[in-house]
Each structure stands twice: as structure tokens, then as C-alpha cells.
């Protein structure tokens, strides 16, 4: 079985985000970019499935600017076998919406015929939490979101999902779309020799037009603002003072 893993290039999760003065978005020029943390978990899971003999090839896909190549090289260095870069914009500030990403991914799935797609649960830039679900709808495949355990057994997979009330286990028919949550695994670091080897692994470059997908956004950004700042607080010297302040504030 082939596994397809969509990986997104996003601002590194440690970077302090700055809103652009013109309100058009967040400043992404010259900031550190990394693979979306959830996607690292998805790549790791695909590698573990390969190590367990349940997957025989891992294809990583990224959609966005040309620089997303670096993200794909990271996936290849971790252990993906080949990569597909879909250049859909040349503007580092343009975010391709989940619906357009899902349409491109559907076209790639039609070509590649994977048995499993492992997505992240959410991209930490747009915080949409939508692409996997949308891809699943477009393909008419089964869907298991927020996975903290993945157990592939032949024609089905048992997936434990992190939900508001605790954990839910479902069994999905293959082929399936799984979106991964934080506690599924701990992603490995790519070793230096693997980083070198990754440079030789195949990376195909395509464009959104190759798949006939219109990536123009459905949601127009009217403005982007900093969130309201909280007023400065105070340091209390003791538990007694804390209780006193809380009583004054009517909080207890």
C-alpha cells in the first residue's frame, strides 16, 4: 500500500508572529519556516507503518510556494520515498485555502492511488482544521480525524480519536483519510546521512494548473489585526494577598 502525506510549509511554531502594518496578514518575509508540526507526526506515522510492513511507499506532497521544496526535503530526510511539489503561487504571503488544497490532493490521489492519506489535524498558521475532511468528502472516502492511535489491519483501520469527551475509537474502511493529533507519536529527527541521501530522492515539480484547479481564494482577507492586549497585572507577595485581591476583584 502506498501512503500519501501532505506536508505544509508554515511559520516555525517558536517564531513570534507579527501582524503587517497594512493589515493584509502576518509578516512572513525572512522568518524561519518549518514543516507544520502535525505533518511531522503524519510523516513519522507513515514511516512506522512502512517499518511495520504495512506501507511500501511514502509520497510527500506540498502545495504552495517553490520554497516548500525545503519542507519536502525534510520529509524525504525523515524517510519519505519521493515528493511532489505543487507550485500554486509565488507570493510567500498567499495561503492556498484548504478547499483548493483538497482539490489538488484529490487529483494527485486519483493519479497515485494511495491506500491511505495521512494529513495533519491542523495547520498552525491558518488554524483551519479542514483539509483532510474536505479531501475525504471529495474522494468519497472514509475519514478519521484527530488520531492518537492508528492500527491498519488489511482492508480496514482502527483509529482512536481525541474528541471533546475523551477518546473515541472507530473502524474505517480503506482507503481512508486520517488526520493526526499530537499524541500519535514523537517524530524522529532526520540524521545527517539521511539529509544527504534525501537530496537524491525524486522530487517532481508541478503547478496547480497541471491539475486544472483554480486556487483563487473564496475568503477575502478584509483586514488582519493584533488581538486586544491584556492590561498589565500585578505580582502578589503571598497566598493571603492573592486571596485578598481575588476577593476584591469578585473572582472568588
Amino acid at each position: 500500500m502506498k501512503a500519501l502525506v501532505p506536508v505544509k510549509r508554515v511559520i516555525d511554531y517558536n517564531v513570534k508572529v507579527r501582524v503587517k502594518a497594512d493589515g493584509s496578514g502576518v509578516d512572513l518575509a525572512n522568518v524561519k519556516m518549518s514543516m507544520n508540526p502535525f505533518d511531522e507526526i503524519a510523516v513519522e506515522e507513515a514511516i512506522r507503518l512502512k517499518e511495520a510492513g504495512k506501507v511500501d511507499e511514502i509520497v510527500a506532497v506540498s502545495i504552495g510556494v517553490k520554497q516548500a521544496q525545503e519542507t519536502l526535503r525534510t520529509a524525504l530526510a525523515m524517510g519519505a520515498d519521493r515528493a511532489i511539489l505543487v507550485v500554486a503561487t509565488d507570493d510567500v504571503h498567499a495561503d492556498i485555502e484548504p478547499l483548493a488544497v483538497a482539490k489538488i490532493l484529490k487529483a494527485i490521489v486519483d493519479e497515485e492511488q494511495p491506500g491511505l492519506v495521512l494529513c495533519g489535524k491542523q495547520a498552525i498558521d491558518n488554524d483551519m482544521n479542514a483539509t483532510g475532511q474536505m479531501l475525504s468528502a471529495l474522494l468519497g472516502w472514509s475519514q478519521a480525524t484527530f488520531a492518537s492511535e492508528v492500527d491498519v489491519e488489511g482492508n480496514s483501520a482502527k483509529i482512536t480519536r481525541e474528541v471533546d469527551g475523551g477518546l473515541q475509537t472507530i473502524s474505517v474502511k480503506m482507503p481512508a483519510i486520517v488526520t493526526v493529533d499530537l499524541r500519535l507519536n514523537e517524530p524522529r529527527y532526520a540524521s545527517l546521512p539521511n539529509i544527504m541521501k534525501a537530496k537524491k530522492k525524486p522530487l517532481d515539480e508541478k503547478s496547480a494548473a497541471d491539475y486544472g484547479v483554480d486556487v483563487s481564494p473564496r475568503l477575502e482577507v478584509v483586514k488582519t489585526e493584533e488581538p486586544a492586549q491584556r492590561a498589565a497585572g500585578i505580582t502578589v507577595g503571598s497566598v493571603d494577598e492573592l486571596i485578598e485581591k481575588l476577593k476584591e476583584a469578585g473572582a472568588v
Partner: protein, 308 residues
Amino acid sequence: MAVLLLAEVTGGELAMDATAKAVTAAQALGDVTVLAAGASAAAAGDAAAKIAGVSKVLVAEDASLGHRLAEPTAALIASLAGDYEHIVAPATTDAKNILPRVAALLDVMIISDATAVVDGATFERPIYAGNAIQTMKSSDAKKVITFRTANFDAAGEGGSASVETISAADNPGLSEWVENKVAKSDRPELTSAGIVVSGGRGVGSEEDFALIETLADKLGAAVGASRAAVDSGYAANDLQVGQTGKVVAPELYVAVGISGAIQHLAGMKDSKVIVAINKDEEAPIFQVADFGLVADLFDAVPELTQKL
């Protein structure tokens, strides 16, 4: 203009708080029809009919809708979509599972975690873990939206909407429910509690997490946790507060042994009063705290619990 609102139904019961908050958001968009779907959903539908501002309730009962599996529930909503301009739900894990699927079936974008309604096509939503708030205008014919409940007050009671029974859509039969592991607790529910006490990695162990629970019980509070506390097994996954966990905005939020990473702040910085107890005076959590106590939690928390 009509709005279809997917009620939060768990095990046949209506989650009143989440649903009533979404009703408040939806009312700004038009006439609200609530859909109660489940293996049993009639009681939930009756409860939803009593929410002020709901004009109609649709009840769909079918085994396939029992555990809110995405495929049959999304198919049902898509089959009803013709009558509505907006399809909305509270931003619970159920809705986040289902509504993007609905949006794709309708070939429209999803607007996730909206925090404010500007007009029928324009919404605010946080991005980058709440470090920016974006106003987005949709050009889609239908708008599919999840609303972040922490930002809306619950609609009151006193409604008397009509209730109509409808049938489920065909079950595509792609997935099956196996089991739930639900932590039973008598404490208030995290996202609707007036007070939340959260513990982080600083608490150090699952046993010592009892310190957090005892303080919470003294305050009648819900218990929350940082990702580090959940990853380390001190607390259950459904207690995680943050960018990728639950978003809370209680009257009082007490953060104990939590450093205050942006991903955690994203889930609690709209709380009315924030208390931080941390032994590191440089911890970023103090930047959002109204009252900061620099202390060892193993001294401060028992003392606080005892003196309250």
C-alpha cells in the same frame, strides 16, 4: 435568510451550553433551524426547541447517526443544504470533524472557529494561535461556519419552536463506531465552567495532579491542563487547553506550573481574571496574568486550597 445549526448531541442528550452559544451567533445571520441528529435525538430536539431564538427544529434519528460519524452526518446536512444560506455549528470536535466535509460536498470554503459576525458574509477568526485576528469575507453562495463558543453568550430559554421529524440520508457505510473512553467526572465541563484551574508540567506527576483537582473542587471549578501535562500522562487528553485543545474564557483561570507558551495562551487568554502560580518569575504566563504569584506550587497550592 435561513440558518441551519447542527446541535451538539452526545448520547442522545443536547449539550445545551455549546448549542445555545452557537444559537446566539447564528441569530445574527437569520432565522435559525436547529438540526438534532443521533441514534436518539428526539429529547435533544425538544430541548433545543426551548432555546430562545430557535424557530424550528429538525430531528433525524437513525442508527447511522449514532456516534456522529462524519460521513452519514455530513451527507444528511448536505441533503438539507438547499434551504439554507448558512450552515453552522459550535466549534466542538464533532463539528470540526463534520462541517468541513459538508463544505467540500457543497464546494464552498469552511470558516472555522469564527469569533464574531460582522455581517452575513463577513466573519472574524483568530489565526496563528490567536496572535492575529483576521476578518474574512466569503464569496461563496453558502457559508459553512463553526463558532468558537467561548466568544458568545448562551441564548436563554423560553423558545417554543416547532419540531419536525426527518429521515437520515443514505449511510455510505464507510466507518463504524467501536468504543468510547470517556472520563466520568462530577466537575463542571471545561468549556462552560465559570472557573478553571489548570496544571502544567510543573506539577510533576499524575499523583500530584490531585493538588490541582483539590483546588478546583474547593472553587467549584473545572480542571484543565497544558499539553505538556497531558503528554506526560498527568491529565486526560480532553483537558488540554490551547491552540489545539479547548478554548476557554471563564471568569477566573488559575494556571499552576504552566510556563505560558503561545499555544497554551491561545486557549485561555480571553479569561476575565487570570492567576498564575509559577516558581520562575520570568515565565511568560506572568505577562497575561492579572495576579501573579512567584512561588513553589507545592507550598502555594495547598495553602491556597486550605485558606479559600
